[in-house]
Amino acid sequence: MYGNDFAPPEDGPGGGLLGEVEAAEAALREAAARARGGAPAPDEDVEAYFADVIDADQKIEPRDWMPEAYRKTLIRQIAQHAHSEIIGMQPEGNWISRAPSLKRKAILLAKVQDEAGHGLYLYAAAETLGISRDELVELLLDGRQKYSSIFNYPTLTWADVGAIGWLVDGAAIVNQVPLCRCSYGPYARAMIRVCKEESFHQRQGYEILHTLAHGTAAQKAMAQDAVDRWWYPSLAMFGPPDGDSTHSAQSMAWKIKRFSNDELRQRFVDMCVGQADVLGLTIPDPGLRWNDERQAYDYTQPDYAELMRVIKGDGPCNRERMAHRQRAHADGAWVREAAAAYAAKRVQRKEAVAL
């Protein structure tokens, strides 16, 4: 009974979010089977061809013509996602050394390792759009590209590891499941894999909180404190309200994005209420109540001014997270140079032997 496995019925068809991932995977296979017959004919209008592909819910592939703005939007979005996975290793990695049991230590290590893996294949997906991973890493290190603001909050107690799994990974899944149907093939395929692993992550976070909430009084207080601190930042993960979202309309038209920020946020709230109940923890929102007319929960919006401050760099950990990444990159430079030099020597020696 963890995570989304017991999602309430309003979570939609297909047995919850993981069911939707599987449905998206099946749709992807069907789209491939419908086979558009490869690239457009030489005399075909490439823009019309692109529009047809989007309309028909087929996938755009790296070989296809695409509008420059579509390419740029995808690069930005996939790179930000990849950066988030890499920066996201820090707040949780913060507790690997102090995990309170060997089992929890093993699970957390595996989870943080998964995040590095997600970063890697998201960078690979971005590379299909004609930009290199090295360039993207530079953009992150220079601060010209962003990562999810949620990782600029500190993990102060062990329960924060649970809250990140339950709320942050939970919000990430709600956000990402629709991306499994994104019009760009490599991104959609990467997201299917990421979502499957994220659902395990959410489950482990939920399980940590469940154990704490049913443990000693100090453990339960630790769990409640973590939920109190992570709830609103998690709601803010869906981005600004629809009226203020700058990229949404075009992304929806291109079928990169399928639901608006507010739709996804509502879906997340509705999913969490029942889960919090089972946990025996309180969502820190006095305004939270079921609205029969809307068939959804009314809830208090997060502080979007705070979100903007954190995005602009003034969150509690922005400077630390960036400094950590820059230091790791700088400290590793001599190792990467050595690996390149060694590889070059091996090629030279092989060529010398071949002569």
Partner: protein, 240 residues
């Protein structure tokens, strides 16, 4: 060493190695290396859990893996000094991992054929993992040794720095399930071949620190344990 002491010593080696490798998370020189180091840490942690659980059973005093990992002080730990040394730069970490894996591979291989079924099962599982650790570390020793001038200098420094600590691993103990002294030839052959290909010089043997198996550690272990155990000890009797 009897079977309890032996399982405890090997379990502690693996646990402390995992703890040090875990410190690299999000700090590795390449993203691929972040994945690899976490993977190796997980393997070591997995072996540690099997060995400590078994040690607890052999002892028969009701201590499980967590009681042994979290509720002993540094003087009660039986790991070798090699694994508790600080990570240093990536070269030092690779030197530590290379020597550890070059020892653990023949150790676990021999253990897989020993008379104790539980230890044999651990050996059978862990030797495959050790083979990968050895391959990974040896490749980096070669890349760094035969890479740039700077990496060569750093890797040679690392080997020089870590080498004295390998001798503790081979102190003879005919009563142990596997006598560590019998592992030297395999270790020696691996080290000679890899250092040679890496254009590195094997240090002369002089100072040979030891004492880990008797609970006499470096100053570093107590700090490592303070961090590892802090949360568990702050909530006596709690379940996690």
């Amino acid at each position: 060493m009897n079977r309890f002491d032996f399982a405890l010593a090997l379990g502690d080696d693996a646990l402390i190695a995992a703890q040090r490798l875990g410190e690299w998370t999000s700090r590795a020189p390449e993203m691929e290396e972040d994945v690899a180091l976490a993977n190796i840490a997980l393997d070591q942690l997995g072996a540690a859990r099997l060995l400590l659980t078994y040690a607890g059973e052999l002892e028969g005093a009701g201590r499980d893996e967590d009681a042994l990992a979290y509720l002993r002080d540094d003087r009660e730990f039986r790991n070798c000094l090699l694994v508790e040394l600080p990570n240093g730069d990536f070269g030092v970490t690779m030197a530590k991992l290379f020597f550890l894996a070059a020892w653990q591979l023949p150790l676990y291989t021999a253990l897989a054929g020993c008379a104790d079924d539980r230890l044999a099962a651990v050996g059978g599982k862990a030797r495959k993992e050790s083979a990968y650790h050895l391959d990974h570390a040896a490749l980096w020793v070669k890349r760094l040794g035969d890479g740039t001038d700077e990496s060569h200098r750093r890797m040679q420094d690392a080997v020089d720095q870590v080498w004295p600590y390998v001798h503790e691993l081979f102190v003879a103990d005919p009563a142990a399930p596997v006598d560590p002294a019998t592992l030297w030839p395999a270790f020696d052959a691996t080290v000679a071949a890899v250092l040679d290909e890496a254009t590195l010089t094997r240090p002369a043997t002089g100072w040979t620190p030891g004492g880990g198996r008797q609970g006499l550690h470096t100053e570093h272990l107590s700090y490592l344990l303070a961090e590892m155990q802090v949360l568990h000890r702050a909530h006596p009797g709690a379940l996690w």
